[in-house]
């Protein structure tokens, strides 16, 4: 495996454009999203994982979107929000 491959994101992850990331941020706010570890409300939106195909307990159009708590002292900053395709990817 090359250093390039090391740095690669995993094949199942989907990169989001700015519009999609904004929609995710709005939905986090609308749903009153708070960091379970520190209570923070500011998150950086990362990549998305399509759950519908891989996981038998998920809806067909379910995605998990990576969220990272912006609170520098957060002991467990990495979390996620479960969304449907139409909520953040549909144009």
């Amino acid at each position: 495996m090359t250093a390039t491959a090391d740095a690669q994101s995993r094949p199942e992850l989907v990169s989001l454009d700015e519009a999609a990331r904004d929609r995710v941020s709005e939905l986090v706010t609308v749903r009153g999203g708070r960091c379970a570890a520190c209570g923070g409300t500011e998150f950086e939106v990362g990549q998305a994982l399509y759950l519908g195909f891989l996981f038998l307990d998920e809806d067909d159009d379910a995605y998990l979107v990576a969220l990272t708590c912006r609170e520098a002292s957060c002991p467990q900053p990495r979390t996620a929000i479960r969304l449907h395709h139409k909520e953040f990817l549909a144009r």
Binding site: M1, T2, A5, D6, Q8, S9, R10, P11, E12, L13, G46, Q47, A48, L49, L51, G52, F53, L54, F55, L56, D57, E58, D60, L64, V65, A66, T68, R78, T79, A80
Partner: protein, 495 residues
Amino acid sequence: MTLDYPAWLRVDHWLNVLFLTLLLRSGIEILSTHPKLYRHEDSAPGTQWAKFTGKVMPKDKLYDTLDEEEDYHPIIALPGHAQLGIGRHWHFAAVIGWILVGSSYYILLFATGQWHRYWPYSWSIFPDAWNDIVTYLSFNLPPLLPGEPLDAIQKLTYAGVIFGLAPFQILTGAAQSPAIEARFPRYVRLFGGRQSARSLHFLGLAAFLVFIAIHLSMVVFWGWGRLTALMIFGSIRNTHWATALSLLIIMAVVTVHVAATVWSQRSPASVRRVLGAVISVPRKGLLRRLDSRQDYPRRALSAEHRVNGKPPTAENYKVMAVHNFVDWRLRVGGLVEQPVILDLAGLRALAEPQTQRVLHNCVQGWTSIGEWTGLPLGTLVDLVRPLPQARYICFMSMQDNSTDEPSAHGGGQFYEVLDLKLAHKPQMLLAYAMNGEPLPIKHGAPLRLRAETQVGFKMAKWINQIEFVDDYAQIGKGRGGWREDNVYYGMDGEI
């Protein structure tokens, strides 16, 4: 030379009936677990040349080959009802008996000169055999060859079965052992590859079924009492007694089959223990020492590598996955001098990555070719330094079959135990990449085991903990792995 029916030939004949029928039924059980036959090593869905299932697999949801498993009735399969582990035990135990009987038959055949009964001394036997076929088709009996117990077509057929079909079945069966395939890939290519070997093995099974049907028809046509007298008393006498005794022998064989089926259904653990003790002799004596020497060309990689087992549904696994497993940790401990906790970057940094392009042998019979990259297992073992009493390595998975695999025969956390002696063998790998990319989730991300002389179920996926232990009796149900506990596979995966 008198070509008669000596006692050893008669005994071997009836023992052959027993072992061959056990092989046929247990072989059908093994087929039922993946009832599709392929020409190519990738076993790609839809490319089978034959299938014995009506199941249709979904396109929008990940399915695995456990979902494709069929449930055949015990009348045709031993033990039936999708019990692959027990079916394998019967098949491998029966083949040991069959080889021993066959070996004694060969030795005595040549030592006593009885091999002349099968040797075609003249090319004229072929037109004679054709004439015999025509005679049979006109519902008449052809003449026997002068001074011989068989007619021409019988002689050729028996010679073909004894010196052709039977060894062919053993050779194509051996070609399906992952240990043999890993050590002697060229041998497997003699048959056109692993899937061709499996297909040919199936055709051999079908040929035996056809042979048995014709053989029994011949016995009826020529006179059941006369021919069974030859095979029981060695000469044509007491034909009524011969008929009765032959039916008694057949009933005894059927009784063995019924007893084997009932025993398997009621107490699979004891079947596994008893037959496993028999099978482990050649498995450990002959196959354990083989090292993997595979290096398939890049062009041979399967476009879509099949999978078995479904990813963990636990929420923390999914959250780790969407963050590229930054929070994943591998805990290595137990009977070691230096327990460690590693993240993915730390694991990668332990040694230069090792890459291998190999054939994956699923216990169900399918194969695929993949390129795996990771840390040699031996490097991790050297790092943690097992204590002298450590004998096994237990790989624990994040997969919980209670929730993650509805097609599995049982629940609970998946784990597999490997003999510590295997750790430093070639191509033993903790893989974190596949085909040049991070290990996909469906293939065990972020870490899985590759043990290329073993069947696929030993290669635990979604690993997050490795324990060195002196015994596995206290882990799970104490049989050496989740599939050993629940599906009664043998603990050693060389066949």
